[in-house]
Symmetry: C2
Subunit: 588 residues, 2 copies
């Protein structure tokens, strides 16, 4: 071992001891005849002292140390006169007697500090240096702790971690698979799993009873912000359970992580909200309930005042921004621009200011009298000083737009603190989503999700009305995970495939092994999966999942550090029976 202690170990109680430390030169400074060097490792930073008077040669050597040199020092632990109370080792320093340079270092392309001078691109290229920064490393330490505590919690409850295969078969449904050409089976391909869904259901058929896996999953999608081609799921499944059992076990897991990692206690049950209410009151299936600001639907109240925008709209609703009557014209214009952005797509924004003098000022004064506006304001319980913001249009689209506006206003009002955590179960999702373009139903979760028994009758008459035994865990507006009780009856499963437009042949080709497994005694089962990357970034207060992944890819799916993907040898292509044929894309 190159050290007796780490750079984070030494305290006042060690004063007088001999110590040997190894680490990186973090900072050096000369003051008179003294040279001070901060030595850094994963565990901390310790101050080294070299005295030119007592050992000029050694001090000279210290003066030549460059940033990020790897050194080993031996010396006496001494009490510092000017203590640094910001770090646990700040009360001591090492009077160095021996200095060995273990490795030299070129000057790094950016400073190894929490607030570095390096931009995103250079930090990604030199990710191994970026990872030296304690702010980045702490995210990965948190990730380790969360994964470990997840395993500990689930192990204690009898869950078995089972590794499912990474080289599986491709299923054309859903998102695009990454595929892997098989050399031994010419012309055939493996696919990388988008989730272990089918395998975990097979494990239930196998009687594993309680399964989990922290599993890498893969999705070949065009990368939007905060998507990675490979991501990690906490994947879980249980047998002989109903929805309530799953919710309780995994609410327990989330509480355990909050307690263990963040020392936050949730004494009460997490609130539950139906998908219907989430859409109605928050315009989102993952409402941020750190603040209230619920939607109020206004169609009835605003109808018949010759304001054609409202009169012609399917849906009119608004939110009340407490204390925002003082917003300037410019601020309201900003909000209007916000909702008119193409991603949000509203046509305009209507406001009512509840003035301090009890009057109302609105962008639609022309159509609504003061009493009309007052009546609307009362529907929000708006007080003098509040600002009401209204949108109108097609229902679903307008709900979503108003949901985005709500989040924006909440952020502006400082109601979305990263130190406050508001978990929520969203339940009773619809089983199907109707797609206008293809004129067919799609499974909202996936085709194995079971309908609620009380809604089974609608399967034939009104599929859109069928609710699923499906649930999402949402914290602060982030969907951390979700799952469902699965169909374990093969007749019902076949009926589902039919409703989803699968021919029996297509269903057999894609899910034949699961359907065949179900014929040999499938137990009732259900489960869920959490996104570990999102879970960690939520706990770390990060804006992007990228910052809690050791070696992430950029938006083109490239690892710029190792420069992957890359071309491969012709001989590799030959062995795989592949020829590259790049078509000139029409869109270029």
């Amino acid at each position: 071992m190159y050290r007796t202690e780490t750079c984070g170990d030494l305290r006042l109680s060690h004063v007088g001891n001999q110590t040997t430390l190894s680490g990186w030169v973090h900072r050096t400074r000369k003051m008179g005849g003294m040279t001070f060097v901060d030595i850094r490792d994963r565990y901390g930073v310790t101050q080294l002292v070299f005295n030119n008077e007592t050992n000029a040669e050694l001090c000279d050597k210290a003066n030549k140390l460059g940033r990020e040199f790897v050194i080993q020092v031996t010396g006496l632990v001494a009490e510092r006169s000017n203590k640094n109370t910001n770090i646990p080792t700040g009360e001591v320093e090492i009077l160095v007697e021996k200095l060995q340079i273990l490795n030299e270092a070129e000057t790094p392309p950016f400073t190894i500090e929490d607030n570095t001078d390096g931009g995103d691109d250079i930090r990604m290229k030199y990710r191994y240096l970026d990872l030296r920064r304690s702010s980045v490393r702490s995210n990965l330490i948190l990730r380790h702790q969360m994964a470990f505590e997840t395993r500990r919690y689930l192990d204690q409850l009898g869950f078995l971690e089972v590794e499912t295969p990474v080289l599986i078969g491709s299923t054309p449904e859903g998102a695009r698979d990454f595929v892997v050409p098989s050399r031994m089976n010419a012309g055939e391909f493996y696919a990388l799993p988008q989730s272990p869904q089918l395998f975990k259901q097979l494990l239930m058929v196998s009687g594993f009873d309680r399964y989990f896996q922290i599993a890498k999953c893969f999705r070949d999608e065009d990368l939007r912000a905060d998507r990675q081609p490979e991501f990690t799921q906490i994947d879980c499944e249980m047998s002989f359970v109903e929805q309530e059992d799953v919710l309780q076990i995994f609410e327990g897991m989330v509480k355990h992580l909050f307690k263990f990692v963040k020392n936050i206690d949730f004494a009460e049950y997490f609130p539950r909200m139906t998908w219907h209410d989430a859409m109605k009151y928050y315009g989102s299936d993952k409402p941020d309930i750190r603040f209230d600001m619920k939607f109020v639907e206004l169609k009835e109240a605003v109808l018949g005042h010759d304001f054609v925008v409202f009169d012609s709209a399917d849906y009119v609703a608004g939110i009340c921004a407490t204390g925002c009557a003082s917003y300037t014209r410019k601020q309201i214009d900003e909000l209007t621009d916000f909702v008119k952005r193409p991603q949000i797509g509203a046509n305009g924004l209507v406001y009512i200011r509840c003035e301090m003098d009890g009057t109302y000022k609105s962008s639609v004064d022309k159509f609504y009298s003061n009493d009309d506006l007052k009546a609307i304001a009362e529907m929000f319980n708006a007080q003098a000083g509040d600002l009401i913001l209204m949108l109108a249009g097609a229902k679903t689209k307008t709900q979503k737009a108003l949901g985005e506006l709500r989040l924006e206003v909440g952020a502006r009002l400082g109601l979305r603190s990263k130190d406050v955590f508001k978990p929520l179960w969203v339940i009773d999702f619809p089983l199907f989503e109707w797609d206008e373009d293809t004129q067919r139903y799609y499974a909202m979760h996936h085709p194995f999700t079971s309908p609620k028994p009380e809604d089974l009758a609608y399967l034939d008459t009104d599929p859109g009305k069928v609710r699923a035994n499906a649930y999402d865990m949402v914290v602060n507006g982030v969907e951390l995970g979700g799952g469902s009780i699965r169909i374990h009856d093969s007749k019902l499963q076949n009926r589902m495939f039919e409703l989803l437009g699968f021919t029996p042949e297509k269903a057999e080709a894609q899910f034949g092994f699961l359907m065949s497994a179900f014929r040999y005694g499938a137990p009732p089962h259900g489960g869920l999966a959490f996104g570990l990357d999102r879970f960690v970034s939520l706990f770390a207060g990060l804006d992007s999942i990228r910052d809690c992944i050791a070696f992430p890819k950029n938006n083109s799916g490239r690892d710029v550090m190792i420069d992957a993907p890359s071309v491969i040898d012709q001989s590799q292509l030959n062995e795989l029976n592949l020829v590259i044929d790049i078509k000139i894309s029409e869109s270029k």
Copy 2:
């Protein structure tokens, strides 16, 4: 929840309680007016009783249950008159009051018993049914426990589990990579990692200090017995350590697993053997030291007796099989056939029987007198009744053949019990292996392994003589893991690449990011990796790693259950800019 207890919970202390169980119908039998059903889940088997006299309708329903039906029953726990002492629940039975069929089952294609009537192929096709057998499931429970305890041990020692990427770049060196075409980067490919080697070394450069990962690795090799295209490594790396530190930490880990999982204590240090001695005395770099039977080299002793086979051989050596003088002609012929098999490749086998009357009988009596044979026998400390077996030929090949013979004889003598565990560190591996075909040196471990400092001088003069800071953990002749202290000095690393025949350009192209990382302050570091699959199969006493993998592939790399790999849609190929072009292989 569909149950109040599991099928493994109930004991005498529960007698009189009401219980609800759910599980699979394991066995049914009628005796007089009674029907007995064994209900099974992951946790055990419990006997259910249906009485035709007290409830004919219910009993009738029970009589119609098929094997592997999924049922839920409610009833009273009662004491059994004829207790089954083989199972923990064998003292009680359930007097069933309510029976619900949760799912029916077709008759499975083989019996769900430890000794099943199903052959390998059908069990793999219906792996989800095979996994219901407790003998198979217990392997996966063991795997879960070993992985979890590994994590617990390493977490306590400050190791951080860091996920390294699965989509990386291809390196033409070493075994063949699986590759993944990139849609977003046309004509380019990712590769799946054969190990996280480069990334874990980068994490050391990043100051992570102690890293581990239980990681999926991939190798596109022609599958010999007991190879899988995807396998799992316990991958570890530490900074500021020397070989001794690594050995101690991971010897501790192996001891922890032995203690925790098998309740075996190893009080002493594991023995250590140099690679040189392992080859000299056991003809293997992974000696099985459950039994002794060391090689005795005989070249000097046998020379000059006009026996041309021995006289012309580079190397003559033998082993002494205790008590085997009584082997029949047929048994000795079997051993001769064994060593002459092409995989072993010896030309013949010479024996000396140490007869009970003090005389010696040999297949080379013609060349050696009784006194000559006695002198040889004494070199083995052979006793009356022992059998000496000798091979001659080129040194390395003959050592390996004699090593195989030693294992075969050990097995015949019952010296290789699966209940005895003999761990061993093999150390001081050569740094390089000379390859006759290509007339160049190859790295025996990998190009990042550091030479022993005392052997550095030979790097230029006699590379074959340089020993590495490399080590393997061997248990019962199985290589469980191995690793090395790495080179952290970029000059030495460059010298290594040179010796291994890399041009600077080629080294830069393949390992540029690592070499560049090393310029920014790499700490001394080293580590190792264990094969989790082998580790589990060793502990489970299995002959194949396949039996401790939930969903293994066959020898053609196929998953016969899900029928992967398979053809993919033309549209997928188009998106990937690929054309399949299967060449007719000349060898067909």
